[in-house]
Symmetry: C2
């Protein structure tokens, strides 16, 4: 048996609770087991095997010794206050342990114990009480129902995952934050099997206290973590989560994330798995893109992106130059780049000429195909690769050497040529697509080349590096307009009232005038310009078109006079008791493009604005853009340009260009209005909005303001 555990008095205490959780000087294991295959035994065995840098304090009332360490009968009997604790006892006992640890001043605990919120309302209550107890003493909790965490920097293995049976992680720059324990360990296992270096991995379980936002935030400041890989089913605390993403972006740490729950089945499953709110998937896409987070669709894509990101080359305005020994693979790579949206501009003409002089049967455009000839003359690698960088100026270079790169007769000479190329251009992102044995792949990687067997996966990962680069280099967006808090009515207002409220905020409807007499209506129509729309004006008639109270396409003064009389007649017939205030005369818009602008309150991210083209584009094709409110006109214009149907607004096929600036102004002001309005605003629909030809404005022909029934 070892001597009593000691906390080195020279080691300063962790600066915060999260640091205590991930890098404790001492850890108590409540429910410690002598059997290394049991939940309470696995962490101890792992820490002993990996040489945890701190003190391990097993707590077990029945044993004086656990896995060779002195054990203590209770939390109260511990000879020192542990920085952190691992709780591996059943529900009930876990709550007692949390209370005792919190009272002694332990700063953070990992709660393995299951049987809480994931089991129903009673469990949720017990979980809430446990968090309350901890917080009362300033102790933070990971879990409950967490598979735990590990930190390769100090050998802290606070996890009972069986994934460690097949090996421990290599230390490295990638941190993993996963809500799901099993999936987090799936990620870790794949990363380990691919030899990827990890700094730490944390699974947050029920997220009763700490959530993945907190962990991303910690990793954003952790010196050992350079790249963050995250997994979530639903974001619990949007402000903390977004603040963490912003810290990562400011510190130039790429975040690649799997956020599941895209599908209807997925969303149902996500809800049954934990008590998450999956959120609208398109909104999630928009929010993650806003912070430069790359959203992965598959586990391999997530790991590919994380692995390439550890090269720390993030080319803003990324472009791809390709050197290939196979024309076929060159075509395949071009297809993959186009599908991903990664530009592959051609080499300059003069550079193409020079390459043709060097190797007459090469294809020098981009991809540059130097054919299998390069395997006979490996100096072509340096000459052609150098030309790609110098003359093509590509942000990223992909070199496809397939199995030839792994052939013993070629590999050593190829390696030499590649080293020479990279030595000349050490700041460039180099990716190599070869099929080779693992030791050869490791050598290429050591030389500074990320290696991918499948060139399509290489392209996807390279594209992600550009997106990180763009996010790191992005200028801050223009400020959103600042609006006064609007005075919202008690209940959902009428169209006219909604338009008035929005008009006060500078969000314009089509010009219209209330007219009490036919002559007033003729004058108004003359001022507005023919044709006009005429609508009966009465606080008692809400559904005007049902009684024939709307006339379209009224073309001249005579028709206005006739129309005025007709509307009054119809109103008198259909609703004899209605108070008639006259007729609303509005300019009839034509030649504009129908758009929809809207706001809804996302349960996770609050008010979110939407832009789309009218009718079928939104209904059937879901061709819309989202952004959190508020935002400025630059963001609004980017949203407008991002939809697939944007060419309709930008003058496709001889159409007039729409007034994008007016549309962007309206969208930006709408976002500011929604942000200022607070939670009583459930939503706004401006549908249709007519985007008129350039210089002629944009006008909402209808407006609905939806007031939440249960105001906060």
């Amino acid at each position: 048996m070892d001597a009593l555990p000691k906390a080195d008095p020279r080691t300063p205490p962790p600066p915060d609770a999260l640091s205590a959780l991930l890098a404790p000087r001492s850890v108590a294991v409540i429910g410690a087991s002598g059997d290394p295959s049991r939940i309470g035994g696995r962490p101890i065995a792992a820490m002993l095997e990996r040489g945890f840098a701190g003190a391990i304090l097993p707590v077990n009332p029945n044993r004086a010794e656990v896995q060779g360490l002195p054990a203590f009968p209770s939390v109260g009997a511990l000879p020192l206050v542990p920085d952190a604790a691992i709780i591996a006892v059943p529900a009930g006992a876990a709550e007692v342990a949390v209370a005792e640890l919190a009272a002694r001043g332990t700063r953070a605990a990992i709660v393995f114990t299951a049987g809480y919120a994931e089991m129903g309302p009673a469990g949720a209550e017990a979980q809430a009480r446990m968090v309350e107890t901890a917080r009362a003493h300033g102790m933070r909790l990971l879990g409950p129902n967490s598979l735990g965490l590990f930190n390769t920097a100090n050998g802290f293995y606070g996890t009972f995952s069986s994934s460690l049976e097949r090996g421990y992680p290599v230390a490295g720059p990638i941190g993993i934050a996963s809500q799901s324990g099993a999936y987090g360990m799936h990620l870790f296992s794949m990363a380990r099997d691919h030899g990827m270096g990890l700094s730490c991995s944390v699974t947050t379980g029920n997220e009763a206290d700490l959530n993945i936002g907190d962990l991303i935030g910690w990793m954003a400041e952790d010196e050992g973590t350079e790249v963050i890989a995250a997994y979530s089913e639903g974001i619990r605390d949007a402000p903390r989560f977004l603040a963490a993403l912003e810290r990562a972006r400011r510190n130039r740490k790429p975040v690649v994330m799997m956020k599941v729950g895209r599908s209807a089945v997925g969303r149902a499953a996500a809800r049954s798995h934990t008590a998450s709110i999956a959120g609208d998937d398109a909104v999630t896409d928009a929010v993650l893109a806003e912070f430069g987070v790359v959203r992965a669709r598959t586990t391999e894509e997530l790991l590919d992106v994380a692995r390439l990101a550890t090269r720390k080359v993030y080319p803003a305005g990324n472009t791809l130059g390709v050197l290939t020994v196979s024309g076929g693979a060159g075509v395949l790579i071009s297809d993959a780049a186009e599908a991903a949206g990664l530009p592959m501009p051609p080499m300059p003409e003069a550079a193409q000429e020079a390459l043709r002089r060097d190797l007459p049967f090469c294809a020098p455009q981009n991809p540059v195909d130097c054919t299998a000839q390069v395997l006979n003359d490996l100096s072509l690698v340096t000459r052609f690769g150098g030309a790609l960088i110098r003359d093509g100026g590509y942000g990223s270079i992909l070199l496809f050497f397939t199995h030839a790169g792994g052939a013993p007769s070629i590999t050593p000479r190829l390696r030499e040529a590649l080293r020479a190329l990279r030595a000349e251009h050490p700041d460039r992102l180099f990716v190599l697509s070869v099929l080779a044995d693992p030791p050869q792949i490791r050598e290429f990687e050591e030389d500074g080349f990320a290696v991918f067997g499948d060139p399509s996966r290489a392209v996807a990962a390279i594209h992600a590096m550009g997106r990180f680069g763009d996010a790191f280099a992005a200028a801050p967006p223009a400020p959103a307009p600042v609006l006064l808090v609007p005075a919202l009515p008690e209940r959902t207002p009428s169209e006219a009232e909604a338009k008035r409220i929005l008009a006060e905020a500078g969000i314009g409807a089509a010009p219209e005038r209330a007219c009490a007499s036919a002559e007033e209506a003729v004058a108004a129509a003359g001022a507005l310009g023919f044709p006009v729309v005429m609508k009966i004006l009465s606080p008692d008639i809400l559904h005007k078109s049902e009684i024939g109270g709307v006339l379209l396409d009224v073309g001249d003064a005579a028709a206005v006079r006739e129309g005025f009389a007709l509307l009054l007649r119809r109103a008198a017939e259909a609703a004899p008791a209605a108070r008639i205030e006259g007729v609303l005369v509005a300019r009839q818009l034509s030649g504009g493009v129908e758009c929809i602008l809207g706001v809804h309150r996302d349960p996770v991210f609050g008010p979110v604005a939407m832009f789309g083209l009218g009718g079928i584009f939104v209904e059937v094709l879901k061709d819309v853009a989202f952004h959190r409110c508020p935002f400025g006109e630059d963001v609004a214009e980017a949203m407008i340009r991002s939809i697939r149907g944007a060419p309709l607004l930008l003058g496709a096929r001889g159409r007039p260009r729409a007034d994008i600036a007016a549309l962007a102004r309206m969208l930006s002001r709408l976002s500011a209005f929604a942000a200022a309005a607070g939670p009583r605003l459930a939503g706004i629909d401006l549908n249709p909005v007519f985007a008129m030809p350039e210089g002629e404005g944009a006008f909402a022909a209808d407006a609905v303001i939806d007031i939440a029934e249960e105001a906060a």
Copy 2:
């Protein structure tokens, strides 16, 4: 040195030239080298190492012995007529060798030699002469510029690829046919590295004679090949290619294909790589789908599909049932299935109840999440897995056990449970997603479980199995209508003439009448129904709307009379010399959905019909469906239903349902017209076609028939 080579007289000669190419009893190597690293030496070394079942006959004028084999100075000096030959001498000498071999009666030759069509017009001519010489004697050629082939069944290695340096393929059921040599060997190398069994691999190079269609056709009949993996940049001979695909389908052999050249850059690169015609990518998609070919987007996807296909379970009407130890992975799998279009219906309510009784905290819907509890009680695998199959009736079962499946403390018990499950349901498609060491993965595979580390890749491959199953089970489509060969005019006809020609084929325009007087026009309008469209009728005025010669929305008899006079006046002013035949009065269609029906002549696949919604849907969103002509109404209706905007026609959001039957009839007849018209027909555009509400028909408002300038 061995004794003189002998062809076993008891072995029957290969039944055809392709069998001679792939399974020769004897092979001459022209340009044989004693150095196993040289092009002329590699095939010999490989065949010796792999125990080629036939005789190897090196030809080298300077050596009596090559790699231990007796060598012969010339083709003429060979002691027997070889079934096949490998030609590894420079251009020029290669043509001589082809001529000598062909004259002696050799049935097939692999031409490694480069410097032909890929180098320009002179090379193309030499290549054409070489093929002519060979064909004159009935000899077939693979190449030139081919990396060759191998056949694991007989150890025939007619290839000089360096890919063999890292190991030979395992024999198995997958055949590879690739136009690109380097890419074909890339495929082979990845397959080998993943331990996949191969029957043969052929790279067709310049395809001067044999092309991948021929090779797919041969593999479709080859006993050793059960799954075909193909790569092409452009199809050279559509009838041969499609006949081969049909043979494969009839023989229930799945074909998975990479056809590159999707992108603009890709198409340019494809053209520079070989002299291929890339074809329109959407047309290629449609044609491959027609024959049940699964088109892979990445190399890994291609190999995943081929590997899973070797299980030979192809569930028609495929659905996916999922058993998972991780709710998070369950959500991820649901998302992937929805994205792929693979249905995951929920378990029946009663079955869910039963599972809940068995394990209260399970999520029994589908994915069925039996939580990590299954690792403690592996009998759950049999019970829950059995319920998925019996009660859920899913065509495919995916079991997600992540790293736990590879943990030494779990794997043996898991394997036992899985074997029991499969023994009860041996005909089902079982896929296992685990992370394990290669020997453990092999064990699972031997037990009948295909293993994928990444569950998303498993889902994509499972989806492909259902598509194969649907293709194998599909009833033959309805026959296309048989039309007489239409009498096409010499040149592109006028709109009226085009409509008349199409009307004869039963392809209707909106009802219209030519009227010589205002009174005739009034009568016509009354008969057609108001409102009508009026157009000036003159053989000398082609662009009617430019002179104001078209009136829309003519609403009553008085307006028709006025309109008649107005049109004649405008015509007289604008074109005083024009012969005026009167006015065309047409029913003005309203309430219909605008569609586009068209035909164009694809350079590869001949006349191809297109269907799309009008205007922006085709122009901006490219939301169209294609099919080779001709086809029946069932195929036409499937095309109409396949576009994203189809809900517009099917009555989305309270719209009237369009007359789909009439639209399908028109599309099918159009396809029959195009097929009957022959190559002089360059294209047809019916734009717009108004699909009226159900029962009211579909009418072309405009028609263009485009006649090819250089008729064949």
